[in-house]
């Protein structure tokens, strides 16, 4: 993966750079908001790791101008602020995820992988996770090279889960995306559909997790 780290603290930047590079990613570093903004105008990255308190442009400003340009590069905010308010969690400014410093490197790399997968999945028609290959265009899922023989609704659900990898979706949100207004789905039908899909995905690394009362979240187990 090609990453951009925007961080003004040299010590912290160095450790993150070392960690990410040791995992085989190519990482650029910018200590300044303005220069990072310039760089982002010309170069493409798979992920941007963004500090908030920066010299020059602040992290929020940088993010806003990025989104204003229509650039959808996944952004992970690294904040050291004491209170996590809606500007960060609500992702109002357009961030895809956030973490509070000091960050745990294992957690950071895992979250980055999820972000990258999510954005790669929606950018191309092919989503791959270990032995699972999901072809959106052909509406087909292969496990170990064999057709998983999924029904239309299951394919639809799989697509929704993959688009929201690592994100909690409520049952109502799933139903809304799955059914048209006239179909008036029962929440029971959604539950049964999720259970069926989970069974079919058992041999793969794509896990569909249920948190009762909250919703569903899909993740790839090898990313952890």
């Amino acid at each position: 993966m090609r990453m951009l780290l925007v961080e003004d603290n040299e010590e912290l930047a160095e450790t993150i750079l070392h960690r990410m590079r040791s995992e085989g990613h190519s990482v650029d570093h910018e200590p300044d908001g303005n220069s990072a903004n310039e760089l982002l105008r010309h170069a493409r990255f798979d992920i941007v790791l963004l500090d908030i308190n920066l010299p020059g442009k602040s992290g929020f400003e940088l993010l806003r101008s990025l989104r204003a340009r229509g650039d959808l590069t996944p952004v992970m905010i690294l904040t050291a602020r004491s209170q996590i308010d809606d500007r960060v969690t609500g992702l109002d400014a357009g961030a895809d995820d956030y973490m509070v410093k000091p960050v745990d490197f294992r957690e950071l790399t895992a979250r980055c992988r999820v972000l990258a997968r999510r954005s790669a999945g929606s950018a191309s028609n092919l989503f791959e996770a270990g032995n699972l290959v999901f072809d959106r265009a052909a509406k087909r899922a292969l496990i170990d090279g064999r057709d998983a023989e999924m029904r239309a609704r299951e394919i639809q659900l799989l697509e929704i889960l993959v688009d929201n990898l690592g994100r909690m979706l409520t049952k109502e949100e799933v139903a809304d995306k799955l059914y048209t207004f006239e179909e008036a789905p029962s929440m029971n039908a959604v539950e049964q559909l999720v259970a069926r899909l989970r069974r079919k995905l058992e041999p793969t690394q794509l896990v569909v997790r249920t948190a009762r009362g909250l919703g569903y979240m899909a993740y790839v187990s090898e990313d952890d």
Binding site: E107, A110, G166, R167, A211, D224
Partner: protein, 796 residues
């Protein structure tokens, strides 16, 4: 603590004392005002009674009375009062007036002192009246006989007088009281000076100065003085505690950092790789603990700061809890934990509380963090949001080991970590406690059904939500309905139709039911109507009969805006309103009489008729006043103007006066040449006919022309009084007045819209005034005598 100011409180006490004083004086003042007003108006009653008594006599048929106009005129000095009277003989034998008036208790005593005036209060048809009763002894064939006159009047004017007298007196007293309060205020200010001294002392202090206030206070505020000094002492103590906390924090972080540095140093000095690796691993664990400690110290400080300073907003707990949990679950470290949320049973809107979202998120994060940290690898956490009677409870339960009950109290204190090996900082639950305290919520620790600890925070629910649940459908709108306005009227329907058409066009939802009557019929119908079956509005041209109805207390008071009020003569008691201007006129045949020879005054009219008797014989028209209310009204009012009326009637009798029921017949007679002239016809109708018919002319006299007005009132038992009131205002509005002038044969009361025939050289109009004076000729004896005289003059 009681708010406000001492000064105000003292003033309030003094003011209360003044009020008590004022009340006592008011009672005395009220009695005085009452007596004074009573006396004034009793004199009116006595005067009226005397003037009637003077006209009481013994005739061939026994006692009789000729009601004098002056009696009603005296009572009319209180212009808005309703009037009743009765004349009866000693044995209770009724002479005239009402039969149902209340009498004083000891009627038997009347015989001994009949000539004495007796005042008393009684009720007629449910309304209070003040009465006078006085008798007079007359000599009759059977001997001396006592005749009694009883006159009564409603209490409005005397009550108004009472109030006026009372209020004037009270105003003076109030002024004196205010002055007194002013002095009290000055006295209070000077006694409160020592308090200002304390204030000045506290203001001057440097922020760090927590020493006690010096000086000797006056005896009354010594307690306060001591209390302030005690408080300063406590503040000093609290500052010491804060300093201890900072020292504690410093100690905790430094210790933690020292351990970390120690491990790192040892790692750097290590001889072999295995020892170094071991040291580094321990250093990493120590670093994790330090990070967590720092985070929680910051969170603790932030939460305490926010609960001190942040204002609480109205927030919904459900989305906050859901989002926070979804956020936490993204952590890779949460993969092995089963987290269940139970909050869907809450009714819509029940999760509203007054709170701070940031603090609540922080508390929930700490609760989950605690549950994960103290629980087993495959932990089971249940988060629940549920509703109690007055609270909404957020609870977190886990499958960990829990806390033994004897340690639970200690668990929420700062830096109390009950277990060393889990790396707890001892701050998690104390953060939750701070959040709960900041929200006036109750924090409780208990045993979870999952095996571990159960922590619940009970937030108070919003009162507004509770109230809304109690009053369902409070704002339900009343159903729309069609309105009906019922009018009973003594006015030709064609004459009134344009007004109704205009009203219905402007108020399409109102259905007007218009019933036409003759004046006397209408009067009887209103008196006979059973409650609830009468009309919403009564309109009639017979002013005296309308006054009689209103005098019986049947009309509703209307709050008429000043701009719409008719002139004073055309309104009585704010209950009866005139809306037309209808002068009596002479209509004549242009074929028989020329304009030049017409008489110019009532006196001339008699002379004119006598001089032209041969030409006019049998060709003069007039109302049959026995059957026509208007005719009787015009005739009696003419009689009031002087003796020439009597003479005129006699002359007309000799000239063979033809009598008619209605103005229209007389106008027709004049047009056909059957009549040479008709007098006292309703000018408005006659003018309208004359405009269309060149054969007739209209003539007004120079000395005086009686004017009557068509009146309307809203009965007390109207089914829709508001609608009727609105219609009455509509009748008097400039737009409708203009319409009456332009499109009906009537003449509006508003002189701005008079027709040209009236607008000419100023005529001598004599409006008939609405009021008790009109009741004189409704007296049955008086009416009988008047009609008898009229018939005799006409030789009928």
């Amino acid at each position: 603590m009681l708010g406000g100011s001492l000064q105000r409180r003292l003033l309030a006490t003094m003011a209360a004392a003044f009020v008590v004083l004022l009340v006592v004086i008011s009672v005395l003042l009220w009695n005085y005002a009452r007596a004074a007003a009573e006396r004034t108006y009793d004199l009116l009653l006595a005067g009226a009674a005397l003037s009637i008594l003077e006209r009481v006599s013994i005739g061939p048929d026994g006692p009789t009375a000729d009601l004098p106009t002056s009696a009603m005129d005296i009572l009319g000095l209180a212009p808005d009062e309703r009037v009743v009277y009765a004349v009866f003989a000693q044995g209770g034998e009724h002479v005239t007036g009402r039969r149902d008036l209340p009498l004083p208790d000891k009627l038997s005593a009347l015989a001994t002192s009949g000539a004495e005036q007796r005042f008393f209060t009684g009720q007629v048809d449910g309304t209070d009246f003040r009465f006078v009763l006085q008798g007079r002894a007359l000599l009759s064939s059977t001997g001396r006989e006592w005749i009694f006159v009883q006159v009564g009047q409603t209490l409005g004017a005397r009550q108004a007088q009472e109030r006026a007298l009372f209020l004037t007196g009270l105003l003076g007293l109030a002024a004196v009281s205010l002055l007194g309060l002013g002095f009290v205020w000055l006295a209070i200010r000077s006694s409160l000076a020592p308090l200002h001294q304390i204030e000045a002392d506290l203001r001057r202090r440097a922020p760090g100065d927590l020493s006690e206030i010096d000086g000797t206070p006056p005896q009354e505020i010594r307690g306060l003085w001591t209390a302030i000094n005690l408080f300063i002492g406590r503040l000093r103590q609290s500052r010491t505690l804060t300093e201890t906390f900072i020292a504690d924090v410093a100690h905790q972080t430094r210790t933690s950092l020292s351990a970390l540095v120690g491990h790192v140093t040892l790692a750097a000095d290590a001889e072999d790789f295995e020892t170094m690796r071991n040291r580094v691993e321990r250093a990493e664990r120590q670093a994790q603990r330090t990070v967590r400690l720092t985070n929680q110290l910051l969170a603790n400080a932030m939460v305490i700061h926010r609960t001190d300073h942040a204002s609480l907003d109205i927030i919904r707990l459900l989305p906050i809890v859901r989002e926070t949990l979804a956020d936490i679950l993204r952590d890779v470290s949460m993969r092995s934990v089963t987290l269940t949320f139970n909050g869907d049973d809450l009714p819509e809107g029940a999760d509203r509380i007054r709170g701070d979202a940031v603090s609540i998120r922080e508390a929930l994060r700490n609760l989950i963090d605690n549950a994960v940290r103290h629980g087993p690898e495959a932990n089971n956490i249940l988060v629940e949001l549920s509703q109690r009677e007055e609270t909404i409870v957020l609870s977190v339960e886990d499958a960990g080991p829990g806390i033994p009950w004897r340690d639970r109290l200690k668990a929420t204190e700062r830096f109390t970590s009950l277990s060393r090996k889990n790396g707890g900082s001892g701050l998690g639950l104390s953060i939750v406690r701070a959040v709960a305290e900041g929200h006036q919520a109750r924090l409780s620790l208990g045993q979870s059904s999952l095996g571990g600890l159960s922590v619940s925070v009970a937030f108070p629910r919003l009162l507004a939500v509770l109230l809304a649940a109690l009053i369902p459908g409070f704002w339900a709108a009343p159903a729309a309905r069609a309105d009906t306005l019922e009018i009973w009227s003594a006015t030709d329907t064609p004459a009134f139709a344009p007004i109704l058409a205009d009203y219905e066009a402007k108020h399409p939802t109102v259905d007007v039911v218009y019933t036409e009557y003759h004046t006397v019929e209408l009067h009887q119908a209103i008196l006979a109507a059973a409650p609830g079956t009468g009309p919403d509005l009564v309109i009639s041209s017979a002013m005296d009969l309308q006054v009689d109805l209103v005098n019986r207390g049947l009309a509703l008071r209307i709050d008429m805006p000043e701009a719409l009020r008719p002139p004073g003569w055309a309104e009585w008691r704010s209950e009866l309103f005139g809306f037309t201007f209808e002068p009596a006129a002479i209509v004549y045949s242009r074929a028989i009489l020329s304009t030049k020879e017409l008489p110019t005054s009532h006196r001339d009219l008699a002379t004119f008729v006598r001089d032209n008797e041969d030409r006019l014989l049998g060709r003069i028209g007039g109302y049959d006043i026995r059957g026509s209310g208007i005719g009787y009204l015009y005739a009696t009012q003419d009689a009031e103007q002087g003796l020439q009326a009597q003479r005129l009637t006699e002359v007309l009798g000799r000239a063979g006066l033809k009598t008619f029921c209605c103005t229209s017949d007389m106008v027709e007679g004049a047009a056909d040449g059957e009549l040479a002239l008709a007098f006292n016809v309703i000018g408005s109708y006659a003018l309208a006919s004359a405009r269309a018919d060149p054969r007739i002319g209209i003539h007004f006299l120079d000395d005086f022309n009686l004017v009557m007005t068509r009146t309307a009132f809203v009965p007390k038992d109207a089914k829709d009084p508001d609608l009727a009131e609105a219609f009455l205002k509509f009748l008097l509005s400039p737009e409708t007045q203009e319409l009456i002038g332009a499109e009906t044969p009537l003449i509006p009361i508003d002189s701005a819209y008079f027709p040209e025939a009236l607008a000419g050289p100023s005529r001598n109009y004599l409006p008939i005034r609405l009021g008790p004076g009109l009741l004189t000729y409704l007296d049955p004896l008086k009416r009988r005598d008047f009609l008898k005289g009229w018939e005799a003059s006409l030789d009928r």
